[in-house]
Amino acid sequence: SQTIHQWPATLVQPVGSPLSLECTVEGTSNPNLYWYRQAAGRGLQLLFYSVGIGQISSEVPQNLSASRPQDRQFILSSKKLLLSDSGFYLCAWSVGSSRAVGQPQHFGDGTRLSIL
């Protein structure tokens, strides 16, 4: 069965420090991968998605970047964190497909990021 792992679960960082959040998926090949941010009491905002190694699409302009160095690894980064980067960051995967069929996304348990 497929599993998705995110770490760390919680992170407290000072303003201006760098960030690296990692997400890995097991049990599937060539998945689509996604990074979301969720503000407290709100819905999910898509930040980045990737349909393959080295292929990253950004949904919103921001202080963050994403990379996919391996097929099942997705990394969210920042060179200098801002206070506004605080939030709950979620990674998700879905079946990669060349056909336009609906596929559910499956989420990890997130990283709670607090910027001080």
């Binding site: 009491g41 336009a100 609906g102 559910p104 989420f107």
Partner: protein, 116 residues
């Protein structure tokens, strides 16, 4: 842009009652819909999905109804249990004729509280 929203932000029910959570979507071109359950501190968990060529789909204790005429989606939970207490999100996507990466647009969420 297009958005998906929920009619009620909170819903309280007694254990054993049936729950109905509603969702309105504005993109008439959407053809794939998902319901997620999110417990505190965790990532969203896939519950059930439905494609636009269907108007009803049943799972274990859950039923999703789709009314394309009024662009309305609902999730029915039978015999609601305290363990069903969570935030429920609907999400929509346009997959046919578009990209195949499965981009979802999420609603804001409904808080379901089940009282013993």
């Amino acid at each position: 842009g297009e958005s998906v929203g929920l009619h009620l932000p909170t819903l309280s029910v007694q254990e054993g009652d049936n729950s109905i959570i509603n969702c309105a979507y504005s993109n008439s071109a959407s053809d794939y819909f998902i319901w997620y359950k999110q417990e505190s501190g965790k990532g969203p968990q896939f519950i059930i999905d439905i494609r636009s060529n269907m108007d009803k789909r049943q799972g274990q204790r859950v039923t999703v109804l789709l009314n394309k005429t009024v662009k309305h989606l609902s999730l029915q939970i039978a015999a609601t249990q305290p363990g069903d207490s969570a935030v429920y999100f609907c999400a929509e996507a346009k997959v046919a004729g578009g990209t195949s990466y499965g981009k979802l647009t999420f609603g804001q969420g409904t808080i379901l509280t089940v009282h013993p």
